[in-house]
Subunit: 358 residues, 2 copies
């Protein structure tokens, strides 16, 4: 029904459309030179009121709008920024994308998006391809190997990373302070009296894992044991890992993200495990849903739209000095949001206050 034939056709035969008015048509209509039309439209050089009047009238009459390809060809810039995300369906990335888009629009930039569908290898190619079309690329690729990223950073003129640092801070990036976030969660759980915690870790190669693990190690001790449970980054992963988390007999579960916690919550409900009655649960990111869920999720808040906006600003700023001192890393500090999904452990007879037993 949806024949490929039709699709092939549009790919090759693009001339079927009625031709659009060009600057030359406008010039003829207004009885001036193309140069004058351009000057009126761009405001490059002053033009007499009389001519300007005529040009504007002609533009309106013909409905003329400049051809961006021609402009781009000449200027060497496309006025577009690319965004690579693993999955637009993930509310986290959707918000980041929104942040970039809104910021870009304010400067009259278009946004190009590539969804790599969580396929690891595709990100490199997507970014490279996007860089042909855009003046810069915002890359959300938590799992790209450092080597690959380094190579990419050299091939793509204005590359900005989100939630990862490349080449030791050489490539501009906006990152969340995952270590501080995890530390805050650990502190919160410890104060509630939890002693045995399961951590549902993200994808094996996720960049943020290093910082998270640092925080976990720092928080660990004889009275605060962290059990690692392999999981992933989607709510489906969370759902699958929920059983393993339970098997650790931990009194609290830290999920890689809110999105993951969503799946955990669903599975716990199926199993008749009550949150926070039987076990506490925390997320990460504070996506919009977390406040809508029951129980409302304890998490750390990250402003995802800001992440996108700042990534854009970093891109915009990277025009400076010919990209000379391009290394610039911005860090966002997440904030603990205490809601209903965490409570003192039921097992503890007395929720002993923050007594560290050395």
């Amino acid at each position: 029904m949806w024949s490929n034939a039709a699709m092939d056709r549009v790919r090759t035969d693009a001339g079927a459309r009625p031709p659009r008015a060009t600057i030359i048509d406008v010039a003829r209509e207004a009885a001036v030179s193309p140069a004058t039309v351009s000057r009126v439209l761009t405001g490059t050089k002053p033009v007499s009121a009389d001519l300007e009047q005529r040009v504007r009238a002609a533009v309106n009459r013909l409905g003329y709008r400049p051809n961006p390809a021609a402009q781009g060809l000449l200027r060497g810039a496309t006025h577009a920024v690319g965004v690579v995300v693993p999955d637009v369906g993930n509310p986290y990335f959707a918000e980041v994308l929104k942040g970039v888009t809104n910021a870009a629009e304010e400067s009259d930039f278009r946004t190009l998006v590539a969804d790599t569908g969580e396929k690891g290898g595709a990100e490199h190619d997507a970014a490279l391809e996007l860089s042909r079309w855009a003046d810069g690329v915002v890359l959300c690729s938590p799992r790209m190997p450092q080597r690959e990223l380094a190579k990419l950073a050299q091939a793509v003129p204005h590359l900005v990373c989100v939630n990862r640092v490349g080449r030791g801070g050489q490539v501009p990036a906006v990152v969340v302070d995952f270590e501080a976030g995890m530390a805050a969660i650990c502190r919160h759980l410890r104060e509630l009296g939890h002693r045995r915690i399961a951590y549902l870790r993200g994808p094996a190669r996720a960049w943020s894992e290093r910082a998270r693990q640092r925080a976990l190690r720092a928080a660990s001790g004889p009275d605060f044991e962290v059990l690692q449970v392999p999981c992933g980054s989607s709510s489906a992963d969370g759902r699958r890992a929920a059983d393993a988390a339970l098997a650790t007999r931990a009194t609290a579960v830290m999920a890689f993200s809110d999105y993951v916690a969503l799946g955990v919550l669903a599975r716990f409900d199926e199993l008749g495990v009550s949150v926070p009655g039987d076990v506490s649960l925390t997320g990460f990111d504070d996506i919009a849903l977390s406040e809508l869920l029951r129980p409302r999720l304890t998490t750390v808040k990250v402003s995802k739209q800001d992440l996108g906006r700042r990534a854009w600003e970093l891109f915009a700023a990277s025009g400076d000095v010919g990209g000379g001192e391009s290394g610039r890393v911005v860090t966002a500090i997440p904030e603990l949001i205490t809601r209903d999904s965490t409570a003192p452990p039921a097992t503890a007879t007395t929720p002993l206050p923050k007594t560290a037993k050395a």
Copy 2:
């Protein structure tokens, strides 16, 4: 800190980047003519093995990638498709966008996205602007007035609508059969024994409302009363409208969408209203969350990615016949998904739930 000065600079000064290799550089490097390079790369005409070899080597050595602006200028096509959405943060539109993006990628098309931020008037301008850059535009604008849409359809070469029909079916569109969906929900509720239903209606000018209201009228009768409650399309709207829905003393609430139902559920929980114990609740769309929520939401399933994919296909097919018989409307039939948020009304056996006497 994020000075505008920096942003202005990137906008004007785009030449700071090292110049990229052109086809002429490659030609010189391979000691052939630019035409030959082009032929090797596009496969337009056969080239001797020897030359092809030389050209490919030169391309690799120089890291040459053709300038899309120049290609676009010549071909009159940009190999990009625009998507206008009211809010990428809304999982519904995020999924539609994903559908378009994935389908477009398969045909080697880029996707441009504009987020109009639910600001009504912005959609027209966004679509118009996008059409300068893209070969076609997929428009998700449920609330654009028909007149405005008609005008837009003439200005934008390949316009495809999602979830609305324009100019009496003249503009290609992918729509959900809202009437069938609402009818299915009504049937389900009636079979459960509900007689008094609150409908949380969408934005005043939403296109789908007509079809929904048709279904509602058809289902209405002495033993099936539908009370209209103004609401909106976001979960925040749902949250706000929840109280009014309760005030109708209905035994079941039909939300405009799952996204709205999310907010309703949160508010009901705050009020101590149990679903489906005290009142049944239905959604629309079956977003991924609906199955993760507790109670799992009864809804009608719409494949949002398919919506996007089919919109793309409609765009691709519209290259036919110079857009002659361009009017083509595809309808997706939604499917009732019965989950936990609906049950027979409690009023049948017990006097009344604890609904506040507002």
